[in-house]
């Protein structure tokens, strides 16, 4: 799937610390097999697979079948709704800071 996850899906999916750690590792280290991910995950391989499926269904990772191995990689673009949200919140405060700046100028007069 190539569409972006909704904000709700994104927050919900990344709320799980194990899942978030898997996603972070794929972002930092690039494509990995399920086996390689399991070796450092601290949970069983079926659990890792399950988390990877949730991440995949949310559009945060993509999978690639190569022989008997499944390789996973992160879709960094999927984070866009999260970044949008942060910008919106920052936008509110930026506009308030504009008003504050205006007030400070007037306080001198």
């Amino acid at each position: 799937m190539d569409s972006l996850p909704t904000q709700d899906t994104l927050f919900r999916t990344l709320a799980d610390p194990t899942r978030r750690a898997l996603f972070e590792r794929l972002c930092r280290e690039g494509e990995q097999t399920v086996g390689a991910l399991t070796a450092q995950a601290g949970v069983s391989q079926p659990a890792v697979s399950k988390h990877l499926h949730v991440l995949r269904d949310a559009g945060l990772v993509r999978d690639r079948q190569a022989g008997r191995q499944t390789h996973y990689s992160a879709r960094a673009a999927a984070l866009a709704p999260l970044i949008d949200w942060t910008s919106q919140m920052a936008g509110f405060w930026e506009s308030k800071f504009d008003d504050l700046e205006d007030l400070l100028k007037r306080m001198d007069q």
């Binding site: 904000q7 709700d8 927050f11 919900r12 990344l14 709320a15 610390p17 949200w85 942060t86 919106q88 919140m89 920052a90 936008g91 509110f92 405060w93 930026e94 506009s95 308030k96 800071f97 008003d99 504050l100 700046e101 205006d102 007030l103 400070l104 306080m107």
Partner: protein, 139 residues
């Protein structure tokens, strides 16, 4: 343990910390740049910020260090957990050669529930109000 997300905004103002502090702590000045309020500079003081959009934020002063730090809760009660926001706003003032660096951190947005969208919705409500006002002036 609940993990939360924050939003931070920083700006350097060409004014001394004392003046900025007044703008952050005097009700009539707060009303000018933020929202109508019944703020009082005392830890534990409960007050409201009333938005132009008709909503009311429940706040309580958490920390006051004159000309350095001001922190208060920034809560928006809503029956729908999606819009129910519990957050903390902290202003930190740092003197600079040209004035004061103001840092605002709003913390407490929960990632496991889309509560944050309540905040974003709120922010946008304000922005749209401003846009609306601007468009009104342009005619």
């Amino acid at each position: 343990m609940t993990e939360t997300r924050s939003v931070t905004v920083e700006r350097e103002f060409p004014h001394p910390p004392g003046k900025l502090w007044r703008a952050l702590t005097q009700p009539h000045l707060i009303a000018d740049w933020l929202m109508k309020n019944d703020f009082a500079p005392a830890v534990g003081h409960k007050f409201n910020l009333s938005g132009e959009w008709g909503g009311t934020l429940d706040c309580e002063v958490l920390e006051i260090e004159p000309e350095e730090t001001l922190a208060y809760t920034w809560n928006y009660a809503h029956d729908d957990p999606q819009f129910d926001l519990r957050s903390t706003v902290t202003f930190t003032l740092t003197p600079t050669p040209g004035g004061t660096l103001l840092r605002m951190e709003q913390a407490g947005f929960r990632p496991d529930q889309p509560r944050a969208s309540g905040g974003a919705k709120y922010g946008w409500q304000q922005n749209f109000d401003k846009l609306d006002a601007l468009l009104g002036r342009m005619e």
